[in-house]
């Protein structure tokens, strides 16, 4: 007899809840979309290779930045004069042991839909793939929260920008570094999207209230996503662009799975608190994956989505 995993059951199993899902007043949403092309170099890169790539891009930058700016306008719809470069230059840095090439962060504030965008290259010097990233979100400081009913529309826009800008940037990166990597084989591994949405809430809650909104516990105290919570499911649908109920995800897409990532936030009173973001991971064809998460954000800065997106990106990037 084949055991049917819990998430494939057509009817929700009987569960014991610690608390019923509370009515959360979501005052706003904070979406962040990260998109990456994955490529593998053979032989494996070393740090000098990454520095040579940096030099090549840096050398091209004075002339190339005009093209770069025009392309951002093309892919975001934001007029060039409204795009503000927060940093002037490309920089080389490390994230953990991974050399990174960061292009300048760009913001557009004096437009109807504010945004912030950065392209960067995580050049792996181990056996894992390198990632050419594009991140699109809203500026962290000085912008009002997005209304919850705008989530689907804004995430769709951010997703489209991240994908089209990302594909362009990837081609440009390959072109600008073709001489540096002339002696290397480059395998295109695929693409992934990591979208995280923080739900801003008002008031003081305790950990259990948030936990029970996102998760439920079965008879043995094991945690599961709370897919009986319809507001949560609507947010997941909006963030992932699903045209079916999230409860059907793993039956319609058997390779999909659920996971959660913990993160510590700073509360308005200065205390730290542990929060979790619930993610779905689903294939988009054979070589692309979409990872979409929803978390409750009562942090002082509204930075849950941005920080957890980075943590998940680092974690997944260190494994493929």
């Amino acid at each position: 007899m084949t055991y049917a995993p819990w998430h494939a059951q057509s009817e929700p199993p009987r569960v014991i809840r610690l608390d019923g899902p509370e009515e959360l007043r979501v005052s706003g949403v904070v979406p962040v979309v990260r998109w990456a092309r994955l490529i593998k170099y053979s032989p494996i890169l070393d740090e000098n290779d990454t520095k040579r790539a940096y030099s090549a891009m840096q050398e091209a930058w004075p002339d190339w930045q005009k093209t770069y700016r025009a392309s951002l306008t093309e892919h975001t719809g934001v007029p060039e004069e409204s795009l503000h470069f927060i940093e002037p230059d490309i920089r080389w840095k490390r994230d953990g042991d991974t050399p990174m090439l960061d292009l300048p962060r760009v913001q557009a504030r004096d437009v109807p839909e504010v945004l912030e965008l950065r392209n960067c290259c995580a050049l792996c010097i181990e056996e894992f793939s390198s990632k050419i990233w594009t991140r699109v979100g809203r500026p962290a400081i000085g912008t009002d929260d997005l209304a919850a009913d705008q989530l689907r529309h804004v995430v769709q826009n951010f997703r489209a920008m991240a994908t089209s800008c990302g594909e362009w940037f990837y081609r440009e990166y390959r072109n600008l570094t073709k001489d540096v990597f002339a002696g290397f084989d480059v395998e295109e591994v695929g693409a992934f999207e990591i979208t995280t949405v923080g739900l801003r809430v008002e008031g003081t809650f305790d950990h259990d209230a948030f936990d029970s909104w996102l998760f439920r516990y079965d008879d043995e105290g094991r945690e599961r996503p709370n897919l009986e919570n319809e507001p949560l499911c609507r947010f997941l649908q909006d963030a992932a662009g699903l045209d079916f109920h999230p409860r059907e995800l793993t039956s319609l897409e058997p390779q999909a799975f659920w996971m959660s990532m913990p993160f510590a936030i700073e509360l308005p009173n200065g205390e730290l608190a542990a929060r979790k973001v619930l993610y779905l991971a689903r294939p988009r064809g054979n070589d692309a994956v979409q990872v979409v998460g929803i978390g409750i954000d009562d942090s002082r800065e509204g930075d849950l989505a941005r920080e957890v997106a980075l943590k998940v990106s680092r974690f997944l990037a260190s494994r493929v």
Binding site: H7, F263, A288, V291, F315, V320
Partner: protein
């Protein structure tokens, strides 16, 4: 030919791989026991990253155990009976120092601050437990004033050790930073070290202070508190926002703290415990662990010979890089503290 495994399967394998085979069941229940909170009032300038931060660990002098004098108290606020009071549960015992020893402590305290801050340019000074000068179980105002002034003058963080306080029956520690209150920021020990005859009262609400300074996020707790699972797990729960744990100690059993320091450093980053000078016991002066590896910088005696200092130099950017590398790749402590660095897969 490339690997034809679908990308989703590679990701699933990558995520499921590091899941701990066993998860400590207590790790889901400790959340409400101890709070970790930022110490307010540090300027943006103080919070700005410094490439290198020098931490001075000061092992303060002590008395021989046979010479220690203890005073007893009751924590009962109303001693009327019946019904009978549990007098043993209300019993408290704190150590008291006379003027001569208080003066010696103050002299060592002052000497250590001068050596660390003026001579060696330390950015952070952390004193051992019961190393804050006190006289007859009252912390010395002169010590607070000195620590406050030195932290201001040298733009430094001073975790000034602790003392037993007869006013509260607590073991209370003080930390000072430029702009802090002249009396410092106060925090308390939460566990009595009964094996060394300490029977203190503890606050009803446990709280670990967190200082955001010089680009590092530094938590501090006192001695045996690190051996209390709920307290240390509360700090690890917030590991995304804690880089360093500094622990003033006073214990003959200091070497037993090594395993705790090691595992906690694997979860956090840098853990440095500084012990008082206990000449009668073969206890070490420090346990310093960086991401699971022990550091053994030499200690130096101060000119008076009464106290010792150990310096630890931290490259802030390197510590953060190494933390990212380790915590996103390895899973050596999630079995103990619950998933903090890796996702839970359902």
């Amino acid at each position: 030919m490339g690997d034809e495994t679908p990308l989703i399967e590679k990701i699933r394998t990558g995520v499921q791989g590091p899941q701990p085979a066993f998860r400590n069941p207590f790790s889901i229940l400790f959340e409400k026991i101890c709070a970790v909170g930022y110490v307010p009032g540090l300027s943006e300038e103080l919070q700005a990253k410094r490439p290198n931060v020098r931490i001075a660990l000061v092992s303060m002098p002590t008395m021989p155990a046979a010479d220690l004098r203890f005073q007893e108290f009751s924590s009962a606020v109303d001693r009327s009976e019946p019904p009978p009071l549990d007098h043993k549960a209300c019993w408290r015992q704190l150590v008291t120092f006379d003027q001569a020893f208080a003066d010696k402590m103050f002299a060592s305290f002052s000497e250590a601050l001068t050596a660390a801050l003026e001579d060696k340019g330390a950015d952070i000074v952390c004193f051992s437990e019961l190393g804050f000068p006190s006289f007859e179980m009252k912390p010395m105002m002169e010590a607070a004033q000195l620590a406050h002034e030195m932290s201001r003058k040298h733009n430094a963080l001073v975790i000034a050790g602790s003392s037993h306080d007869a006013r509260t029956l607590y073991n209370t520690a003080y930390l000072f930073y430029p702009g802090s209150d002249v009396h410092g920021h106060v925090f308390h020990k939460s566990i009595s070290a009964v094996s060394v005859k300490e029977w203190v009262s503890v606050p009803s609400y446990r709280r670990v202070p967190l200082v955001n300074i010089f680009g590092l996020k530094i938590a501090s707790m006192i001695c045996l508190d690190v051996a209390d699972y709920a307290s240390i797990a509360s700090v690890v729960r917030c590991a995304d926002r804690v880089d360093v744990l500094l622990v003033p100690c006073y214990t003959p059993g200091f070497e037993k703290m090594a395993k705790i320091a090691k595992v906690t450093s694997e979860a956090l980053g840098l853990v440095a415990m500084v012990n008082a000078t206990l000449p009668e016991e073969p206890a070490g002066l420090h346990q310093i662990w960086r991401l699971g590896r022990k550091l053994e910088p030499p200690h130096q005696a101060l000119p008076s010979g009464a106290a010792f200092i150990t310096y630890v130099d931290v490259e802030t950017e390197k510590l953060k890089e190494d933390r990212v590398q380790k915590l996103s790749k390895e899973n050596t402590t999630d079995w103990l503290f619950g998933n903090r660095n890796i996702p839970v897969v359902y």
